[in-house]
């Protein structure tokens, strides 16, 4: 293959972050005008590699060539000037600004006054151009709309409009459909087709196999920061690619040998959580479910579907504006504070571990004992000795690998951090355990250990509600699966009838 064919050549890229090697000696060649899919599990290094390509990060080692010329991007702006635009996985919009302002953020169009550029905004030109781009994307929002008021799918399209406004020759899309509904995804695919037809090169990160196989010309698989394979789509199968992604066949993992269902722990009827000042009007609507002891209830749904809100409502972590009934052990409750939920023997492990779970300045013991510090008191003071013996049990039971209770929590791997947080809640002896995407950002091996732990807790009689952004995980663990779409409960499946196919269909209703 001649070099002239390649739009992007990355060679020997290495990137280290404190404590982790995110990328190790990764090489990648992307041909001009192709759609190149980058696949891999969470934490495989896909996003890091794309952030290096678009100037967000600088590599520690390795070279980058664009159209045959070696380049080094000091900033996103330098990458933009070389014709590279990235659509980030996490939306990077300023919510208080209008749609048009976001599309042209950092590259505002100016109006000359008396022939001199004083930096006055040319709102008219930006509004017009933004309107044209949105029309191209078949998006019906007004360029004047406040970005915070848009639905997630429309916000994603604003991000795409932002990239389009650059007229980039290389567009990186980092899981652009993770928050989109079926029709929005179809709309995006039409845009992608148009971009490809006009000669744009697209790098497309996704772990949705059907999407990758529908769109991609070639596929590159990363695993644990290393390059595994680059193949033509025609030469492979989804099953093979998934195998490369996880490094082994995970279909064998199944914890679903019958568990005995105990008494009813939780019952929710017609739950409605309003969302004032939002066009939809509610965060959750018409939710009814029940949970028994010794049962894992899976909650599936796309980003923004209301999974976290459901768990937070049960846990009393949102303002109690909801209507309907929530009954714990047969008694109706209305928790105003998570403390009241704890008292009712409910525990919740939050989705965003770094922001809502860990206390980086406390050690392992401090992180685990936090919710049961009263058990460590001796004459009113926290006793370090009692704290150590208190946390010994959860460290052992959850299998935390640490040098000791006084090790720094930030020195542990993601999986071990998560076990510490689960251990923290086990000390409160909960009957109901709410797990919000507990394996997010955790490597495959640690995931399997967490599955085993969750399965074991359930067998000991706990009722577990588990959300996950990965369907195979729910399919492997849950006895029943409910599906949320835009705040509504759209389906409930018994384990026998649940498949990825019918769950995805219900999630995009």
């Amino acid at each position: 293959m001649s070099h002239a064919q390649n739009a992007v050549v990355m060679q020997g890229i290495t990137k280290r972050f404190p404590g982790v090697v995110a990328l190790e000696n990764v090489s990648l060649e992307v041909r001009r005008g192709e759609l190149h899919a980058i696949c891999g599990e969470n934490g495989a290094g896909k996003s890091t590699l794309m952030k290096i390509l678009s100037g967000v990060y600088q590599p520690d080692d390795g070279t980058l060539q664009i159209d045959g010329a070696e380049v080094g991007f000091a900033s996103t702006r330098a990458a933009e000037q070389a014709g590279i635009a990235i659509i980030h996985q996490e939306l990077t919009l300023v919510e208080d600004l209008s749609v048009a302002a976001n599309v042209f953020l950092g590259r505002e169009k100016c109006r000359r006054v008396g022939g001199i550029d004083f930096g006055f905004l040319d709102e008219q030109a930006m509004t017009k151009e933004c309107g044209r781009l949105l029309e191209l994307l078949e998006c019906s929002v007004s360029p004047h709309a406040r970005t915070a008021n848009l639905r997630v799918g429309d916000q994603q399209l604003v991000e795409i409009a932002k990239a389009l406004s650059l007229n980039a020759s290389i567009v990186v899309m980092d899981e652009p459909t993770s928050a989109l509904t079926e029709s929005e995804s179809a709309r995006l695919e039409r845009t992608i087709a148009r971009l490809l037809a006009s000669g744009t090169t697209i790098l497309y990160i996704s772990h949705k196999m059907d999407e990758v196989f529908r769109l991609a010309d070639r596929i590159t698989v990363l695993r644990d920061g290393r390059h595994v394979q680059t193949v033509n789509r025609a030469d492979t199968t989804a099953r093979e690619v998934t195998g490369w992604m996880v490094g082994r066949d995970i279909s064998g993992v199944d914890f679903r040998e019958p568990r005995s269902r105990g008494k009813k722990l939780l019952e929710i009827h017609d739950l409605l959580l309003p969302w004032p000042e939002h066009p939809r009007g509610y965060r959750l609507s018409n939710i009814s479910l029940d949970l028994h002891a010794g049962e894992i209830l899976g909650v599936a749904g796309l980003m923004g579907a209301g999974r976290t809100e459901l768990l937070e409502t049960i846990f009393g972590a949102v303002e109690p504006t909801w209507t309907g009934t929530i009954a714990v052990a047969g008694k109706p409750v209305r928790f105003r504070h998570p403390r009241e939920a704890c008292a009712a023997r409910i525990a919740m492990v939050t989705e965003d571990r770094k922001r809502l779970g860990l206390f980086p300045d406390l050690d392992v013991a401090g992180n685990i004992s936090l919710c049961s510090l009263t058990d460590t008191l001796v004459r009113g003071f926290v006793n370090r000795g009692r704290e150590e013996s208190l946390v010994a049990a959860p460290i052992r039971d959850t299998g935390v690998k640490t040098t000791g209770p006084h090790a720094s929590i930030m020195g542990l791997s993601g999986g071990n951090q998560q076990k510490c947080i689960i251990g923290r809640w086990l000390l409160t002896k909960p009957h109901i355990l709410l797990l919000d995407d507990p394996t997010r950002g955790i490597d495959v091996g640690a995931k399997a250990e967490l599955y085993r732990l969750i399965n074991q807790l359930c067998r000991e009689g706990m009722g577990v509600i588990l959300t996950s952004s990965e369907l195979p995980e729910l399919l492997a663990l849950a006895d029943r699966i409910i599906v949320l779409a835009e705040g509504r409960l759209t389906a409930e499946f018994e384990r026998a009838e649940a498949t990825e196919q019918n769950i995805m269909e219900a999630a995009t209703l």
Partner: protein, 403 residues
């Protein structure tokens, strides 16, 4: 399914909350005109207007600076000390260039006045640069960086004043008299600070709402990470914001010197930084950043000064004693107005649990003491009792509603 989103920027002049402020100002002025026993608003309308206009202009000038910093997601606590330093630098420069005229209370000439004022504004730029450096390079939180300069700059101004008077005049002094006719002219013509305030407000409004820089200030305050990823040089935007804040305070400092004919670093502008932040917050700025308008801050400053003036008209003596109290109450009430709607919708309670129970006597004692000090012991007791009854009713109603 297409749906209409609320549109952000309409062609309207003021937002609803700002019309609310206009209404509040009219009501405050009207009530004062009626309740004031001397009826000074009726008999001396021009003098009253001049007082309020001067005070509003002085507060407004650096409140605009505070607004820009707050919109950019920062905070500048040092404005009051910057005012003192600016005045001291101005007076010291004149003392240095024309010691004999300064000591003889004689004119120093327009050239030297211009150099002195320029020096003050330059110091404002330097202080803004220092803030930005501390915040972006040392990575101090803005609160800490400007807290340090709040304390440090005033002390620095006092030291500068004392050492320059010790070196250039026969006696060491904690203040420098300024008697050039230029400053007298500024003092006697109220329209000058008002015009400067007006022009500065117009420029700030243009920058914030019509320029790329203004857009970037909003973006920085709204979501710094997104601003960075959009390729905005956020450090430079911060540099502008903090320099604008410090230089507007320096400008206000010159007017304080003119007003009082003296540069007195010990007390000039003391505590005024909080009035500026209060004016911005009353005008609708969010301390979280990204939100705020110039018309809002202008109205906030007017409202604060009108209420302070009203109280000084009603309580004949020692009104300046109550200034801080008034500002505090006005800020709480203004922000509460924005919260009450959400509270009712969110099912939150005003007086929940044990905290609410303790808040009732706290508020009643506060209210009763203020009334007792200003109008008499009996009315103090009556209003404290009334507050207990009223808040007790609120609590009773809340507990019934949620039960």
């Amino acid at each position: 399914m297409p749906h209409r989103e609320p549109v952000l920027q309409g062609p309207r002049l003021l937002r609803p909350s700002e019309w609310g402020l206009v209404l509040a100002i009219v009501i405050a002025v009207g009530l004062t005109a009626l309740a004031d026993a001397n009826h000074s608003y009726w008999f001396q309308p021009l003098e009253s207007l001049r007082d309020i206009a001067r005070n509003t202009a002085l507060l407004g000038i650096f409140a605009l600076g505070a607004t820009v910093v707050i919109i950019a997601g920062g905070i500048d606590l040092s404005a009051g000390s910057m005012i003192a330093l600016s005045g001291t630098v101005c007076a010291t420069t004149m003392l240095l260039l024309a010691p004999l005229q300064m000591m003889g209370f004689k004119p120093v000439g327009p050239a030297i006045v211009a150099v002195a004022c320029g020096a003050s504004l330059l110091v404002g730029f330097l202080v803004g640069t220092l803030h930005t450096w501390l915040i972006t390079s040392i990575r101090l939180p803005p609160f800490i960086a400007t807290l340090a300069t709040l304390v440090g700059l005033r002390s620095f101004a006092r030291a500068l004043c004392e050492s320059s008077t010790a070196a250039l005049t026969p006696t060491k002094s904690a203040l420098i008299n300024v008697s050039d006719p230029f400053f007298k002219m500024v003092r006697e013509n109220v329209w000058i600070p008002v015009a400067v305030f007006g022009v500065l407000a117009l420029i700030t409004w243009l920058i914030l709402s019509r320029t790329v820089l203004g857009r970037h200030l909003h973006a920085l305050g709204g979501n710094e990470q997104a601003a960075k990823l959009a390729g905005i040089r956020t450090d430079n935007v911060k540099w502008f914001a903090y320099c604008f804040g410090a230089m507007s305070a320096a400008l206000a400092g010159l007017f304080y010197v003119a007003n009082e004919s003296v540069a007195a670093p010990v007390n000039q502008g003391r505590g005024h930084e909080l009035n500026a932040i209060a004016a911005a917050v009353v005008g609708g700025c969010s301390l979280a950043g990204g939100v705020g308008t110039v018309p809002g801050t202008v109205l906030g400053a007017i409202f604060l000064r009108v209420v302070i003036d009203a109280v000084s008209k009603l309580i004949k003596t020692g009104a300046d004693v109550y200034e801080g109290l008034i500002v505090g109450i006005v800020v709480v009430i203004a922000v509460t107005f924005g919260q009450i709607g959400q509270m009712a919708k969110g099912g939150r309670r005003l007086l929940p649990g044990a905290l609410g129970l303790c808040a009732i006597p706290t508020l009643a004692i506060l209210c009763g003491t203020i009334v007792a000090m200003t109008t008499g012991t009996r009315s103090g007791l009556v209003s404290a009792f009334a507050a207990v009854v009223l808040l007790g009713l609120v609590r009773w109603w809340e507990s019934r509603r949620t039960a």
